[in-house]
């Protein structure tokens, strides 16, 4: 059962990712991104990270993709672009080679680290066993608001800076504001 969920969610995720890269119309790419994000959310559920799965759907699929769609409509670029002409010489070939190399490196590193991972997880005490399952949200809150509270406060500063900066960037300058 878990294996079926894994295969289906991975297929959703990878099909969506390929769609983002290959669709010519930015609106279709944004909708493919939603498919990928839902696939990742399903993976989170099967990894017992229930809170993060909910946040993934609300923040990513609900807020970020809507923001993308807003900007696509605002700029009026919701028409297909021609992907047949290659902008730079051999750009796609080089990108493909680099991406395949990166994939190979990551897979080899993960496979070689698998043994280390197994011995490391055997050595750990299982006091945190209850962190997964129903107590997930409590444990996550204790970690985020306890151990990492400084990082949490810094992210709130970051969000304020981002909002103020974006308002400054995106507003239209009027003659009255300049004077």
């Amino acid at each position: 059962m878990q294996l079926i969920v894994f295969v289906v969610a991975s297929a959703m995720m990878l099909v969506g990712a390929v769609g983002v890269v290959t669709r010519r119309n930015p609106v279709h790419a944004a909708l493919s991104l939603v498919l990928t994000l839902f696939g990742v959310a399903v993976h989170f559920v099967s990894l017992e990270a229930y809170f993060l799965a909910a946040v993934q759907v609300i923040v990513y699929a609900g807020a970020i993709v809507v923001l993308f769609l807003f900007v696509i409509m605002l700029l009026g670029v919701d028409k297909a672009e021609d992907l047949r002409t290659e902008p730079l010489v051999a750009q796609r070939w080089l990108a493909g080679v680099a991406a395949l190399g990166m994939l190979g490196l990551l897979v080899v590193a993960a496979a070689r680290g698998a043994d280390v991972l197994r011995t490391r997880s055997e050595g750990l005490d299982t006091a945190l066993e209850g962190a997964f399952g129903d107590a997930n949200i409590q444990q996550l809150a204790r970690s985020a608001f306890g151990d990492y509270v400084v990082a949490f406060e810094l992210t709130s500063v970051l969000l304020v800076v981002a909002v103020v900066g974006t308002v400054m960037l995106a507003r239209k300058r009027t003659a009255a504001a300049e004077a």
Partner: protein, 102 residues
């Protein structure tokens, strides 16, 4: 039927990351490049959560929480820059950002 191992999650995350990296390098529409960056961030999040369960350490899930916040801030600022640069243009390519040099 065997349950999927942590290694299989890591391999799927690596695939997602490679697709996103290819998109950033090959596409020229800045909006699509942003979406591909989101793909790469999601791949990293997936591997964090898989390792958090493997090592029974909730810290891996906390950091995904922070990555989500930073990703949201990054998208807001990036789209603000794109809107202010591209407002009066018909086409949209990354080469137009050369005028950021000032």
């Amino acid at each position: 039927m065997p349950a999927p191992t942590t290694l299989s999650y890591l391999v799927v995350a690596a695939l997602l990351f490679a697709i996103g990296a290819f998109g950033v390098m090959a596409r020229r529409n800045p909006l699509i490049m942003f979406m591909c960056i989101e793909l790469m961030l999601n791949a990293v999040n997936l591997s964090f959560v898989a390792l958090a369960r493997e090592l029974t350490d909730i810290g891996g899930q906390s950091i995904v929480f922070f990555v989500l916040v930073v990703a949201a801030a990054e998208v807001v600022v990036g789209l603000g820059i794109i809107v202010s640069v591209m407002r009066n243009r018909s086409s949209l390519t990354a080469d137009d950002l050369a005028e950021l040099k000032g």
